[in-house]
């Protein structure tokens, strides 16, 4: 079992590398799927591992996107340093807001995160002279990557750049969730009361993972800005948070890869369905969601895993609290 999974993991990343030649005409879409996947990975840490139900995760994505955009619009167009600054700023915002999010019931958390997201959206709209408001931030111009590789129209540079960044961050997250700290998070999700009783500082642990996830979301936002060379107010929208939830669940939460699978299926299905009949994409999306919660709760990845597992094991269920 363990070795199959490892092998699958290697195959997963190899396919992505091969994607450079396999789908040359679809590199822009592939980059955006990877970015959405990274964003979903960040949300997976919050929801799948720490059990915090949030509908305002776009706040950190947006902070990262605007940070990278504003840097580039004001002359700091070097991508990698911009990416780091964006991640740090998002982490800072995540750290400051984390005390508000780690307490309360599911409903309270849901509403506080939603409220914070909406407040940030309004703020970005109101600061139109800085952010460009609904018209979007203009003048984002990126310098060539590593001083040599221009962001081209085919999306080749962008794809390579995104893939490397996502891979590195994925490795870090993988280490994190398999560390003792990661295990304590799972413990908190399963039973916070008991974790407290055995001396685990639950609030502190949750705040730490929330901050970490915010940094990831910020980097994802910054990648989107840098590869699009534009920032729209929609990076902060409620819809983006809601879609994120859908993506992660479609893929399977609490499994690290779920976000990538979910993002790929969601965005490709959207792409295909909306070119068939753009108006009713929502209908089929809704039907799929209902079917997924009715049938397999742990998403595509969970279903695949059950198929792979010959021994009958308790399926990994996702519970939020």
């Amino acid at each position: 079992m363990r070795s199959t999974f490892r092998w699958l993991e290697v195959a997963f990343w190899l396919v992505l590398v091969a994607g450079y030649v396999l789908w040359p005409g679809k590199l822009p879409l592939a980059s955006q799927v990877l970015i959405a996947g990274l964003f979903a990975l960040s949300y997976d840490l919050v929801l799948g591992y720490a059990g915090i139900l949030s509908l305002g995760h776009a706040a950190y994505f947006g902070v990262g996107a605007y940070t990278a955009g504003l840097l580039a619009a004001h002359g700091w167009g070097e991508p990698i340093s911009g990416l780091m600054v964006a991640g740090l700023v998002a982490a800072l915002v995540g750290f400051v807001t984390s005390p508000l999010v780690v307490r309360g019931t599911d409903l309270t958390r849901l509403m506080i995160t939603t409220g914070l997201g909406l407040l940030l959206f309004e703020l970005a709209n109101r600061l139109g002279t800085i952010t460009g408001g609904v018209d979007g931030l203009q003048g984002v111009e990126m310098q060539p990557l590593l001083g040599a590789l221009r962001f081209d129209i085919y999306g080749r540079t962008a794809y390579g750049y995104v893939l490397v960044v996502v891979f590195v961050l994925f490795l870090a997250a993988r280490r994190l969730v398999r560390s003792p700290y990661g295990l304590s998070l799972r413990g908190i999700r399963a039973n916070p009361g008991r974790m407290r009783a055995i001396g685990c500082r639950v609030d502190l642990h949750l705040a730490a993972i929330y901050t970490f996830a915010a940094a990831y979301a910020g980097v994802a936002g910054a990648l989107l800005t840098q590869t699009t060379q534009f920032v729209g107010l929609d990076v902060l929208s409620f819809g983006r948070s809601a879609e994120l939830l859908v993506m992660l669940i479609v893929g399977g939460a609490g499994l690290l890869y779920g976000g990538f699978i979910g993002a790929a299926v969601f965005m490709i299905a959207h792409h295909v369905l909306s070119s068939l009949d753009p108006v009713y994409w929502q209908f089929w999306l809704g039907v799929c969601l209902i079917a997924i919660v009715l049938v397999g709760r742990d998403g595509i990845l969970g279903a695949g895993r059950r198929l792979l597992t010959l021994r009958r094991r308790r399926p990994v269920t996702v519970t939020a609290s």
Partner: protein, 390 residues
């Protein structure tokens, strides 16, 4: 069995060869429009407007077939618009980019038009700055400042001395407010109060009360199309601001033709300035309305967004004609578009040779009942209005 296979194969080969031959004679127009999400109405208007044009004038021009490829930008999503544009340019090898209902989508794509030297026809997005973002952009729709500024002049000239402005607190609202105030004050008018309302506002009572307290002669409003203008007009009537001697003046988005239905009789008498009304009396408009009904069904009422797409197609057809038989060349197309005059359903329009933005007649209209239905009836016109935002 094998005979049938051969038959199928040779048929396929023949199809590919003929497609290859035909490719020379096909001009592809990649249309990026908002087909789903909260702005789906915009996209549906545009696509049907473009299809209506093709229905009347045919799918071929100068011996070439014009193929429309529609892609859904899903709403205000610049990264999606840009990605779709990349795919259209790289995979579908389109000769024109067109559509664009929302400003951020158009702005995100602009650099690609410059890089690939492909003409980009903006059919709706109304922020002044768009055409300055690439020398390959031409706009056939309107800009907000273009329709808001004449209203300021008209109001000052027609006995309205004191105005309160109420606009939604976002880019377009602020543009409309700025343009209106400039001409209104220049004409001798006085702004007695101004307020900017939240983007997603549903409760107008406190604002209406403020306006009532200030006792202006008129209130100028700009609100995003949707429930807000309806809510404002209803509140305005309910609170009897009209009886307090206050009038409503606005840009035409507020009394957009499709939306008048939901407002009931509350907007009767409202004066707006805009570039198109479904009630515009001309042969071109009748042709347009009939074609649109044929394409989209009788229940779907066209508005200025559909006209924008119609005129966009007219510009593209004329550009193809003037391009000649060679491959579509961006610079040649832009040269053809500069100064191009179109006999539009809204009246005569021209693409400004300097700014590549639209120059057109702006109409002053009053909401009136005509034969049981409510229309924006044009009663004054200001010809050759340029975008004052540049």
């Amino acid at each position: 069995m094998s005979g049938r296979l051969w038959g199928a194969l040779s048929f396929a080969v023949a199809a590919i060869v003929s497609a290859g031959a035909a490719a020379q004679d096909v001009v592809r127009v990649g249309m990026i429009a908002e087909m789903s999400g909260p702005f789906a109405e915009t996209g549906r208007q545009m696509v049907n407007g473009a299809k209506a044009y093709q229905k009347v004038f045919g799918e071929t021009v100068g011996g070439r077939k014009v193929e429309l490829i529609v892609r859904d930008s899903t709403g205000p999503a610049p990264e999606v618009a840009k990605r779709l544009a990349q795919e259209l340019l790289v995979n579908d090898k389109v000769d024109f980019l067109a559509g664009f209902g929302l400003t951020p989508n158009a702005l995100a794509v602009a650099p690609l038009a410059t890089e690939t030297k492909k003409p980009m026809i903006v059919m709706n997005a109304a922020t002044s700055v768009i055409t300055q973002k690439s020398p390959y952009i031409a706009r056939v729709s309107f800009t907000l400042a273009q329709v808001a500024a004449p209203l300021g002049t008209w109001a000052a000239k027609n006995g309205i001395g004191k105005v309160y402005t109420l606009v939604a607190d976002y880019g377009p609202g602020i543009d409309a407010e700025t343009a209106f105030k400039k001409t209104f004050i220049a004409g001798g008018g006085e702004i007695v109060g101004e307020v900017r309302t939240p983007l997603r506002n549903v409760e107008f009572a406190p604002y209406l009360q403020r306006i009532k307290d200030a006792r202006p002669q008129a209130v100028f409003i700009f609100l995003p199309v949707g429930e807000q203008p309806v809510a404002f007009m209803k509140g305005f009537a309910e609170r009897e601001l009209d009886k307090a001697g206050i009038r409503v003046i606005a840009t035409g988005d507020v009394t957009e033709d499709g939306q008048l239905e939901a407002m009931g009789e509350t907007p009767l008498g409202v004066v707006t300035t805009h570039h198109y009304s479904a009630a515009h009396d001309s042969a071109q408009n009748r042709t347009f309305l009939k074609a649109f009904a044929d394409v989209a069904g009788p229940d779907f009422k066209p508005n200025f967004m559909a006209v924008g797409a119609w005129d966009g197609m007219a510009a593209i057809y004329e550009a193809i004609r003037r391009n000649g038989s060679g491959p579509i060349d961006g610079d040649r197309v832009l040269a053809a578009l500069k100064g191009l005059k179109i006999d539009s359903p809204r009246g005569p329009i021209m693409i400004d040779p300097e700014t590549r933005d639209v120059v057109q007649t702006v109409y002053v209209r009053r909401v009136q009942k005509r034969g049981g239905r409510i229309y924006n009836v044009e009663f004054e016109q200001i010809p050759n209005v340029k975008d004052p935002g540049k």
